[in-house]
Protein backbone atom coordinates (compact mmCIF):
# COMPACT_ATOMS: atom_id res chain seq x y z
CA UNK A 1 0.00 0.00 0.00
CA UNK A 2 1.46 3.35 -1.03
CA UNK A 3 1.68 6.41 1.14
CA UNK A 4 -1.46 8.59 1.52
CA UNK A 5 -0.72 11.70 3.61
CA UNK A 6 -3.62 12.63 5.88
CA UNK A 7 -3.26 16.40 5.40
CA UNK A 8 -4.17 16.24 1.70
CA UNK A 9 -7.43 15.91 -0.24
CA UNK A 10 -7.86 13.53 -3.15
CA UNK A 11 -9.85 12.93 -6.34
CA UNK A 12 -11.16 9.76 -7.94
CA UNK A 13 -8.78 10.40 -10.83
CA UNK A 14 -5.81 10.15 -8.43
CA UNK A 15 -4.83 13.80 -8.05
CA UNK A 16 -3.90 15.16 -4.63
CA UNK A 17 -4.76 18.68 -3.47
CA UNK A 18 -2.98 20.62 -0.77
CA UNK A 19 -4.79 23.61 0.76
CA UNK A 20 -2.08 26.25 1.14
CA UNK A 21 -4.33 28.30 3.48
CA UNK A 22 -4.01 31.47 1.40
CA UNK A 23 -6.76 30.83 -1.12
CA UNK A 24 -4.49 28.71 -3.31
CA UNK A 25 -4.02 24.97 -3.64
CA UNK A 26 -1.16 22.84 -4.95
CA UNK A 27 -2.02 19.84 -7.15
CA UNK A 28 -0.12 16.72 -8.13
CA UNK A 29 -0.74 13.03 -8.80
CA UNK A 30 -0.64 10.50 -5.99
CA UNK A 31 2.08 8.01 -5.26
CA UNK A 32 -0.34 5.29 -6.27
CA UNK A 33 -0.93 6.99 -9.64
CA UNK A 34 2.78 7.32 -10.41
CA UNK A 35 3.25 3.65 -9.49
CA UNK A 36 0.59 2.68 -11.99
CA UNK A 37 2.08 4.84 -14.73
CA UNK A 38 5.73 3.91 -14.20
CA UNK A 39 8.82 5.91 -15.11
CA UNK A 40 7.86 9.46 -16.10
CA UNK A 41 9.49 10.88 -19.22
CA UNK A 42 7.46 13.99 -20.09
CA UNK A 43 5.23 16.44 -18.26
CA UNK A 44 3.21 19.27 -19.77
CA UNK A 45 2.12 21.82 -17.15
CA UNK A 46 -0.57 24.50 -17.58
CA UNK A 47 0.35 28.11 -18.19
CA UNK A 48 0.10 30.68 -15.47
CA UNK A 49 -3.09 32.73 -15.81
CA UNK A 50 -5.16 29.95 -17.40
CA UNK A 51 -8.73 29.78 -16.09
CA UNK A 52 -9.78 26.22 -15.34
CA UNK A 53 -12.95 24.54 -14.12
CA UNK A 54 -13.05 21.54 -11.83
CA UNK A 55 -12.71 18.42 -13.97
CA UNK A 56 -10.86 20.12 -16.86
CA UNK A 57 -7.81 18.32 -18.19
CA UNK A 58 -5.05 20.81 -17.67
CA UNK A 59 -1.77 18.90 -17.55
CA UNK A 60 -0.35 15.75 -19.14
CA UNK A 61 2.04 13.27 -17.62
CA UNK A 62 3.66 10.70 -19.87
CA UNK A 63 5.50 7.64 -18.68
CA UNK A 64 7.41 5.17 -20.81
CA UNK A 65 4.13 3.27 -20.89
CA UNK A 66 1.43 5.83 -21.67
CA UNK A 67 0.16 9.39 -21.65
CA UNK A 68 -2.30 10.39 -18.96
CA UNK A 69 -4.31 13.56 -18.44
CA UNK A 70 -4.22 15.36 -15.12
CA UNK A 71 -7.54 16.96 -14.21
CA UNK A 72 -7.98 20.08 -12.17
CA UNK A 73 -9.73 19.09 -8.92
CA UNK A 74 -11.02 22.65 -8.44
CA UNK A 75 -11.97 25.79 -10.38
CA UNK A 76 -9.87 28.92 -10.50
CA UNK A 77 -6.82 30.52 -12.05
CA UNK A 78 -3.52 28.72 -12.53
CA UNK A 79 -0.90 30.66 -10.56
CA UNK A 80 2.05 28.38 -11.35
CA UNK A 81 3.07 25.29 -13.26
CA UNK A 82 6.05 23.30 -12.01
CA UNK A 83 8.63 24.16 -14.69
CA UNK A 84 11.25 22.00 -12.98
CA UNK A 85 9.41 18.93 -14.23
CA UNK A 86 10.35 19.70 -17.86
CA UNK A 87 13.92 18.62 -17.20
CA UNK A 88 13.22 16.22 -14.36
CA UNK A 89 9.88 14.45 -14.94
CA UNK A 90 11.12 11.59 -12.76
CA UNK A 91 10.63 13.85 -9.74
CA UNK A 92 7.00 12.70 -9.84
CA UNK A 93 8.18 9.14 -9.30
CA UNK A 94 10.59 9.97 -6.51
CA UNK A 95 8.57 12.63 -4.67
CA UNK A 96 4.95 12.59 -5.83
CA UNK A 97 3.59 14.54 -2.85
CA UNK A 98 6.45 17.04 -2.62
CA UNK A 99 8.73 18.35 -5.37
CA UNK A 100 6.67 16.43 -7.89
CA UNK A 101 3.76 18.90 -7.60
CA UNK A 102 2.36 19.86 -11.01
CA UNK A 103 0.43 23.15 -10.73
CA UNK A 104 -1.06 25.67 -8.31
CA UNK A 105 -4.51 27.21 -8.52
CA UNK A 106 -6.12 30.25 -6.94
CA UNK A 107 -9.53 28.98 -5.86
CA UNK A 108 -12.62 30.68 -7.27
CA UNK A 109 -14.90 28.66 -4.98
CA UNK A 110 -13.29 27.38 -1.78
CA UNK A 111 -16.31 25.19 -1.03
CA UNK A 112 -15.24 22.86 -3.86
CA UNK A 113 -12.60 21.53 -1.48
CA UNK A 114 -15.36 20.01 0.65
CA UNK A 115 -16.38 17.77 -2.23
CA UNK A 116 -12.95 16.07 -2.39
CA UNK A 117 -12.00 12.84 -0.67
CA UNK A 118 -10.01 12.67 2.53
CA UNK A 119 -7.11 10.26 2.98
CA UNK A 120 -9.33 7.55 4.43
CA UNK A 121 -11.77 7.64 1.52
CA UNK A 122 -8.94 7.68 -1.01
CA UNK A 123 -7.22 4.74 0.65
CA UNK A 124 -10.49 2.83 0.38
CA UNK A 125 -10.77 3.74 -3.31
CA UNK A 126 -7.27 2.49 -4.06
CA UNK A 127 -7.95 -0.75 -2.18
CA UNK A 128 -11.16 -1.20 -4.16
CA UNK A 129 -9.41 -0.70 -7.52
CA UNK A 130 -6.58 -3.08 -6.69
Amino acid sequence: MSNVPSDLKYTKSHEWVKDNGDGTVTVGITEHAQELLGDMVFVEVPEEGNEVSAGDDCAVVESVKAASDVYSPVSGEVTAGNEELADAPETINSDAFGNGWIFKIKLSDASELDGLMDAEAYTALVAEEA
Binding site: G38, F42, E44, V64, K65, A67
Partner: protein, 359 residues
Protein backbone atom coordinates in the same frame (compact mmCIF):
# COMPACT_ATOMS: atom_id res chain seq x y z
CA UNK B 1 -4.66 -16.69 -18.70
CA UNK B 2 -1.69 -18.73 -19.91
CA UNK B 3 1.45 -18.85 -17.79
CA UNK B 4 5.02 -19.61 -18.82
CA UNK B 5 7.18 -22.03 -16.79
CA UNK B 6 8.83 -18.93 -15.28
CA UNK B 7 5.62 -17.37 -13.94
CA UNK B 8 6.39 -18.13 -10.28
CA UNK B 9 9.89 -16.66 -10.68
CA UNK B 10 8.46 -13.42 -12.07
CA UNK B 11 6.07 -13.05 -9.14
CA UNK B 12 8.83 -13.94 -6.67
CA UNK B 13 11.14 -11.31 -8.19
CA UNK B 14 8.52 -8.56 -8.07
CA UNK B 15 7.37 -8.61 -11.68
CA UNK B 16 4.29 -6.52 -12.42
CA UNK B 17 2.15 -9.01 -14.29
CA UNK B 18 -0.08 -7.94 -17.16
CA UNK B 19 -2.15 -9.62 -19.86
CA UNK B 20 -0.03 -9.84 -23.01
CA UNK B 21 -2.20 -11.42 -25.73
CA UNK B 22 -3.54 -13.97 -23.29
CA UNK B 23 -0.27 -14.56 -21.43
CA UNK B 24 0.30 -13.39 -17.87
CA UNK B 25 3.68 -11.69 -18.37
CA UNK B 26 5.89 -9.21 -16.47
CA UNK B 27 5.72 -5.67 -17.91
CA UNK B 28 8.55 -4.63 -15.57
CA UNK B 29 10.09 -5.46 -12.19
CA UNK B 30 9.90 -1.91 -10.83
CA UNK B 31 11.54 0.34 -13.38
CA UNK B 32 11.29 -0.12 -17.12
CA UNK B 33 13.95 2.59 -17.63
CA UNK B 34 16.51 0.88 -15.41
CA UNK B 35 15.84 -2.43 -17.12
CA UNK B 36 16.33 -0.77 -20.51
CA UNK B 37 19.66 0.72 -19.44
CA UNK B 38 20.79 -2.60 -17.95
CA UNK B 39 20.48 -4.20 -21.40
CA UNK B 40 22.28 -1.33 -23.16
CA UNK B 41 25.08 -1.15 -20.60
CA UNK B 42 25.40 -4.56 -18.95
CA UNK B 43 23.07 -7.57 -19.20
CA UNK B 44 19.36 -8.19 -18.91
CA UNK B 45 17.09 -11.19 -19.44
CA UNK B 46 13.60 -11.66 -20.78
CA UNK B 47 11.22 -14.57 -20.50
CA UNK B 48 10.15 -15.18 -24.08
CA UNK B 49 8.67 -18.61 -23.43
CA UNK B 50 5.32 -17.35 -24.68
CA UNK B 51 6.75 -17.38 -28.20
CA UNK B 52 6.12 -20.55 -30.17
CA UNK B 53 8.95 -22.86 -31.16
CA UNK B 54 8.09 -25.02 -34.17
CA UNK B 55 10.16 -27.86 -35.60
CA UNK B 56 9.66 -28.76 -39.24
CA UNK B 57 11.06 -32.07 -40.43
CA UNK B 58 11.00 -33.99 -43.67
CA UNK B 59 13.02 -34.79 -46.79
CA UNK B 60 11.38 -31.86 -48.64
CA UNK B 61 11.55 -29.30 -45.83
CA UNK B 62 13.91 -26.96 -47.71
CA UNK B 63 11.64 -26.99 -50.74
CA UNK B 64 8.64 -26.35 -48.43
CA UNK B 65 10.25 -23.33 -46.77
CA UNK B 66 11.25 -21.87 -50.12
CA UNK B 67 7.52 -21.81 -50.87
CA UNK B 68 6.37 -20.70 -47.39
CA UNK B 69 8.80 -17.83 -46.70
CA UNK B 70 9.48 -14.58 -48.55
CA UNK B 71 13.18 -14.81 -47.71
CA UNK B 72 15.16 -17.69 -49.24
CA UNK B 73 16.29 -20.46 -46.90
CA UNK B 74 18.96 -21.37 -49.47
CA UNK B 75 20.91 -18.56 -47.75
CA UNK B 76 21.19 -20.73 -44.64
CA UNK B 77 20.87 -24.27 -46.03
CA UNK B 78 23.98 -26.34 -45.39
CA UNK B 79 25.14 -24.04 -42.58
CA UNK B 80 24.14 -25.80 -39.36
CA UNK B 81 22.55 -23.44 -36.83
CA UNK B 82 22.44 -20.42 -39.14
CA UNK B 83 19.40 -18.16 -38.61
CA UNK B 84 17.32 -16.27 -41.17
CA UNK B 85 14.75 -13.53 -40.54
CA UNK B 86 11.77 -13.71 -42.86
CA UNK B 87 8.16 -12.73 -43.39
CA UNK B 88 5.51 -15.37 -44.00
CA UNK B 89 3.06 -13.85 -46.49
CA UNK B 90 -0.52 -14.61 -47.43
CA UNK B 91 -1.73 -14.99 -51.03
CA UNK B 92 -2.26 -11.22 -51.32
CA UNK B 93 1.26 -10.37 -50.17
CA UNK B 94 0.28 -9.21 -46.66
CA UNK B 95 2.31 -10.31 -43.65
CA UNK B 96 0.91 -13.27 -41.67
CA UNK B 97 3.88 -13.10 -39.31
CA UNK B 98 7.59 -12.42 -39.14
CA UNK B 99 9.81 -15.15 -37.80
CA UNK B 100 13.30 -16.51 -37.33
CA UNK B 101 14.19 -19.82 -38.95
CA UNK B 102 17.24 -21.93 -38.07
CA UNK B 103 18.73 -24.54 -40.37
CA UNK B 104 19.53 -27.63 -38.29
CA UNK B 105 20.18 -30.20 -41.03
CA UNK B 106 18.84 -31.05 -44.48
CA UNK B 107 15.75 -32.64 -42.95
CA UNK B 108 15.12 -30.24 -40.06
CA UNK B 109 14.51 -26.53 -39.66
CA UNK B 110 13.38 -24.84 -36.46
CA UNK B 111 11.36 -21.62 -36.44
CA UNK B 112 10.20 -19.23 -33.72
CA UNK B 113 6.92 -17.38 -34.28
CA UNK B 114 5.10 -14.69 -32.32
CA UNK B 115 2.85 -15.51 -29.36
CA UNK B 116 -0.06 -13.39 -30.56
CA UNK B 117 -0.19 -15.14 -33.94
CA UNK B 118 0.37 -18.69 -32.73
CA UNK B 119 -2.89 -20.30 -33.82
CA UNK B 120 -3.16 -18.73 -37.26
CA UNK B 121 0.54 -19.34 -37.94
CA UNK B 122 0.31 -23.00 -37.03
CA UNK B 123 -2.85 -23.48 -39.10
CA UNK B 124 -1.18 -21.83 -42.10
CA UNK B 125 2.11 -23.71 -41.76
CA UNK B 126 0.36 -27.07 -41.32
CA UNK B 127 -1.88 -26.41 -44.32
CA UNK B 128 1.07 -25.60 -46.57
CA UNK B 129 3.22 -28.41 -45.15
CA UNK B 130 0.84 -31.16 -46.19
CA UNK B 131 1.79 -31.11 -49.86
CA UNK B 132 5.48 -31.40 -48.93
CA UNK B 133 5.00 -34.18 -46.36
CA UNK B 134 6.69 -32.05 -43.75
CA UNK B 135 5.96 -32.90 -40.11
CA UNK B 136 5.23 -29.84 -37.99
CA UNK B 137 5.63 -30.11 -34.23
CA UNK B 138 5.19 -27.42 -31.59
CA UNK B 139 7.77 -27.47 -28.82
CA UNK B 140 5.68 -26.48 -25.82
CA UNK B 141 8.09 -28.54 -23.71
CA UNK B 142 10.76 -25.83 -23.91
CA UNK B 143 11.10 -22.46 -22.20
CA UNK B 144 12.99 -19.62 -23.84
CA UNK B 145 15.10 -16.96 -22.15
CA UNK B 146 16.71 -14.06 -24.02
CA UNK B 147 19.90 -12.80 -22.36
CA UNK B 148 20.94 -9.49 -23.94
CA UNK B 149 23.52 -6.77 -23.47
CA UNK B 150 27.25 -6.11 -23.86
CA UNK B 151 28.04 -8.45 -20.94
CA UNK B 152 25.22 -10.91 -21.62
CA UNK B 153 27.24 -13.62 -23.33
CA UNK B 154 29.97 -13.63 -20.74
CA UNK B 155 27.48 -13.85 -17.87
CA UNK B 156 25.37 -16.50 -19.59
CA UNK B 157 28.43 -18.58 -20.45
CA UNK B 158 29.40 -18.52 -16.77
CA UNK B 159 26.24 -20.47 -15.90
CA UNK B 160 25.89 -22.65 -19.01
CA UNK B 161 28.01 -25.47 -17.55
CA UNK B 162 28.64 -28.22 -20.11
CA UNK B 163 27.16 -26.00 -22.84
CA UNK B 164 29.54 -23.11 -22.15
CA UNK B 165 32.31 -24.05 -24.60
CA UNK B 166 30.08 -24.59 -27.58
CA UNK B 167 28.01 -21.48 -26.76
CA UNK B 168 31.09 -19.29 -26.56
CA UNK B 169 32.07 -20.32 -30.09
CA UNK B 170 28.76 -19.35 -31.72
CA UNK B 171 28.99 -16.73 -34.45
CA UNK B 172 26.49 -13.89 -34.76
CA UNK B 173 23.11 -15.19 -35.96
CA UNK B 174 24.12 -18.82 -35.39
CA UNK B 175 22.62 -21.36 -33.02
CA UNK B 176 23.47 -24.84 -31.83
CA UNK B 177 21.77 -27.66 -30.03
CA UNK B 178 24.02 -28.32 -27.06
CA UNK B 179 22.91 -31.21 -24.87
CA UNK B 180 19.33 -30.50 -23.83
CA UNK B 181 19.68 -26.78 -24.60
CA UNK B 182 19.41 -24.82 -27.82
CA UNK B 183 21.54 -21.69 -27.72
CA UNK B 184 21.21 -18.98 -30.38
CA UNK B 185 23.24 -15.80 -30.76
CA UNK B 186 20.19 -13.79 -31.73
CA UNK B 187 17.89 -11.28 -30.07
CA UNK B 188 15.45 -8.40 -30.32
CA UNK B 189 17.30 -5.57 -28.62
CA UNK B 190 20.15 -4.44 -30.90
CA UNK B 191 22.67 -5.85 -28.43
CA UNK B 192 24.78 -8.99 -28.49
CA UNK B 193 23.50 -11.94 -26.50
CA UNK B 194 21.79 -15.30 -26.60
CA UNK B 195 18.32 -16.69 -26.88
CA UNK B 196 18.36 -19.94 -24.95
CA UNK B 197 15.77 -22.70 -25.19
CA UNK B 198 15.82 -25.34 -22.48
CA UNK B 199 13.51 -27.95 -20.94
CA UNK B 200 10.68 -26.11 -19.18
CA UNK B 201 11.32 -27.87 -15.86
CA UNK B 202 14.92 -26.53 -15.73
CA UNK B 203 14.02 -22.96 -16.62
CA UNK B 204 13.32 -21.55 -13.15
CA UNK B 205 16.68 -22.73 -11.79
CA UNK B 206 18.48 -21.41 -14.86
CA UNK B 207 16.71 -18.02 -14.55
CA UNK B 208 17.82 -17.86 -10.92
CA UNK B 209 21.41 -18.77 -11.87
CA UNK B 210 21.46 -15.98 -14.45
CA UNK B 211 20.12 -13.53 -11.86
CA UNK B 212 22.82 -14.68 -9.42
CA UNK B 213 25.41 -14.05 -12.16
CA UNK B 214 24.26 -10.44 -12.37
CA UNK B 215 21.79 -10.59 -15.24
CA UNK B 216 18.88 -8.26 -14.52
CA UNK B 217 15.32 -9.53 -15.03
CA UNK B 218 13.56 -7.29 -17.56
CA UNK B 219 9.92 -7.02 -18.53
CA UNK B 220 8.15 -6.67 -21.84
CA UNK B 221 8.09 -2.88 -21.43
CA UNK B 222 11.86 -2.61 -21.80
CA UNK B 223 11.76 -5.20 -24.58
CA UNK B 224 9.54 -2.82 -26.55
CA UNK B 225 11.66 0.32 -26.07
CA UNK B 226 14.81 -1.69 -26.88
CA UNK B 227 13.44 -3.17 -30.10
CA UNK B 228 12.18 0.23 -31.21
CA UNK B 229 15.59 1.83 -30.66
CA UNK B 230 17.10 -1.12 -32.52
CA UNK B 231 14.82 -0.46 -35.51
CA UNK B 232 13.02 -3.79 -35.31
CA UNK B 233 9.41 -4.18 -36.36
CA UNK B 234 6.74 -5.48 -34.03
CA UNK B 235 4.16 -7.67 -35.73
CA UNK B 236 0.57 -6.41 -35.34
CA UNK B 237 1.83 -2.89 -34.68
CA UNK B 238 4.22 -1.98 -37.48
CA UNK B 239 2.88 -4.44 -40.04
CA UNK B 240 0.07 -6.95 -40.41
CA UNK B 241 -1.90 -8.90 -43.01
CA UNK B 242 -3.02 -5.71 -44.75
CA UNK B 243 0.48 -4.27 -45.07
CA UNK B 244 3.02 -5.27 -47.68
CA UNK B 245 6.54 -5.87 -46.36
CA UNK B 246 7.62 -3.38 -49.05
CA UNK B 247 5.77 -0.70 -47.05
CA UNK B 248 7.17 -1.90 -43.73
CA UNK B 249 10.88 -1.40 -44.40
CA UNK B 250 11.25 -5.13 -44.92
CA UNK B 251 12.20 -5.10 -48.61
CA UNK B 252 15.64 -6.36 -47.60
CA UNK B 253 14.08 -9.63 -46.41
CA UNK B 254 12.27 -10.30 -49.70
CA UNK B 255 14.25 -12.48 -52.04
CA UNK B 256 12.72 -11.92 -55.50
CA UNK B 257 15.71 -12.36 -57.80
CA UNK B 258 15.98 -16.10 -57.31
CA UNK B 259 12.83 -16.86 -59.30
CA UNK B 260 11.24 -18.84 -56.46
CA UNK B 261 7.46 -19.24 -56.50
CA UNK B 262 6.90 -18.30 -52.85
CA UNK B 263 3.46 -17.49 -51.47
CA UNK B 264 2.72 -13.77 -51.96
CA UNK B 265 5.28 -13.25 -54.71
CA UNK B 266 2.77 -12.18 -57.39
CA UNK B 267 1.24 -9.27 -55.43
CA UNK B 268 4.72 -8.07 -54.37
CA UNK B 269 5.90 -8.00 -57.97
CA UNK B 270 2.75 -6.17 -59.03
CA UNK B 271 3.19 -3.60 -56.26
CA UNK B 272 6.82 -3.12 -57.22
CA UNK B 273 5.88 -2.64 -60.88
CA UNK B 274 3.20 -0.06 -60.17
CA UNK B 275 5.40 1.65 -57.61
CA UNK B 276 5.30 1.46 -53.81
CA UNK B 277 3.49 4.58 -52.57
CA UNK B 278 4.43 4.54 -48.89
CA UNK B 279 7.62 4.00 -46.96
CA UNK B 280 8.31 3.20 -43.36
CA UNK B 281 10.82 5.54 -41.76
CA UNK B 282 12.21 6.47 -38.39
CA UNK B 283 11.19 9.74 -36.76
CA UNK B 284 12.95 11.73 -34.08
CA UNK B 285 10.86 14.41 -32.39
CA UNK B 286 12.69 17.72 -32.31
CA UNK B 287 10.48 19.25 -29.63
CA UNK B 288 9.42 18.12 -26.18
CA UNK B 289 6.85 15.36 -26.11
CA UNK B 290 6.46 11.64 -26.60
CA UNK B 291 5.70 9.90 -29.87
CA UNK B 292 3.21 7.02 -29.75
CA UNK B 293 1.59 4.76 -32.31
CA UNK B 294 -1.27 6.11 -34.49
CA UNK B 295 -0.32 9.79 -34.40
CA UNK B 296 -0.91 11.72 -37.60
CA UNK B 297 2.22 12.68 -39.56
CA UNK B 298 1.96 15.73 -41.81
CA UNK B 299 4.42 15.90 -44.71
CA UNK B 300 4.55 18.20 -47.70
CA UNK B 301 3.87 15.15 -49.86
CA UNK B 302 0.76 14.16 -47.89
CA UNK B 303 -0.21 12.52 -44.62
CA UNK B 304 1.04 9.45 -42.87
CA UNK B 305 0.86 7.81 -39.46
CA UNK B 306 3.19 6.62 -36.76
CA UNK B 307 3.00 2.86 -36.26
CA UNK B 308 4.80 2.70 -32.92
CA UNK B 309 6.58 5.27 -30.84
CA UNK B 310 8.16 5.79 -27.47
CA UNK B 311 10.50 7.88 -25.42
CA UNK B 312 13.96 6.52 -26.18
CA UNK B 313 15.78 6.03 -22.88
CA UNK B 314 19.16 5.84 -24.63
CA UNK B 315 18.73 9.00 -26.72
CA UNK B 316 16.49 10.89 -24.23
CA UNK B 317 14.30 11.82 -27.20
CA UNK B 318 11.00 10.65 -28.57
CA UNK B 319 11.34 8.24 -31.49
CA UNK B 320 8.87 6.44 -33.73
CA UNK B 321 8.33 4.38 -36.82
CA UNK B 322 5.96 5.99 -39.29
CA UNK B 323 4.44 5.04 -42.61
CA UNK B 324 4.50 8.16 -44.82
CA UNK B 325 4.25 9.02 -48.53
CA UNK B 326 7.20 7.80 -50.58
CA UNK B 327 7.96 11.35 -51.74
CA UNK B 328 8.13 12.84 -48.22
CA UNK B 329 11.34 14.65 -47.42
CA UNK B 330 13.27 14.94 -44.18
CA UNK B 331 11.11 17.46 -42.33
CA UNK B 332 7.68 16.39 -41.11
CA UNK B 333 5.27 17.30 -38.34
CA UNK B 334 3.51 15.00 -35.92
CA UNK B 335 0.16 15.85 -34.37
CA UNK B 336 0.20 15.34 -30.62
CA UNK B 337 -2.93 16.37 -28.70
CA UNK B 338 -3.97 18.85 -31.39
CA UNK B 339 -0.55 20.46 -31.78
CA UNK B 340 1.82 19.98 -34.72
CA UNK B 341 5.36 19.31 -33.52
CA UNK B 342 8.46 19.16 -35.73
CA UNK B 343 10.11 15.83 -36.34
CA UNK B 344 12.98 14.65 -38.49
CA UNK B 345 12.96 11.61 -40.73
CA UNK B 346 15.93 9.34 -40.00
CA UNK B 347 17.14 5.92 -41.00
CA UNK B 348 16.83 3.28 -38.32
CA UNK B 349 18.23 1.69 -36.24
CA UNK B 350 18.28 4.56 -33.80
CA UNK B 351 20.65 2.69 -31.48
CA UNK B 352 22.95 -0.27 -32.06
CA UNK B 353 25.34 -1.87 -29.58
CA UNK B 354 24.71 0.83 -27.00
CA UNK B 355 25.53 3.70 -29.37
CA UNK B 356 23.35 6.30 -31.04
CA UNK B 357 23.12 5.90 -34.82
CA UNK B 358 21.51 9.28 -35.45
CA UNK B 359 23.10 12.76 -35.69
Amino acid sequence: MAKTPLYDKHVEMGGKMVDFTGWDMPINYGSQLEEHHAVRQDAGMFDVSHMTVVDMKGDRVTEFLKKLLANNVDKIAGKPGKALYSCMLNETGGVIDDLITYYMNDGWFRTVVNAATREKDLAWIEKQAEAFEVAVSVRDDVAMIAVQGPNAREKAISVLGDAADAASQLGVFFAAEIGDKFVARTGYTGEDGFEIMLPAEQSADFWQALADAGVRPCGLGARDTLRLEAGMNLYGTDMDEDISPLEAALGWTISLDDGRDFIGRGPLEALKAEGVQRKMVGLVLEERGVLRGHQKVVCEAGEGETTSGTFSPTLSKAIAFARIPKAADESVQVEIRGKLLNAKVVKFPFVRNGKSCID
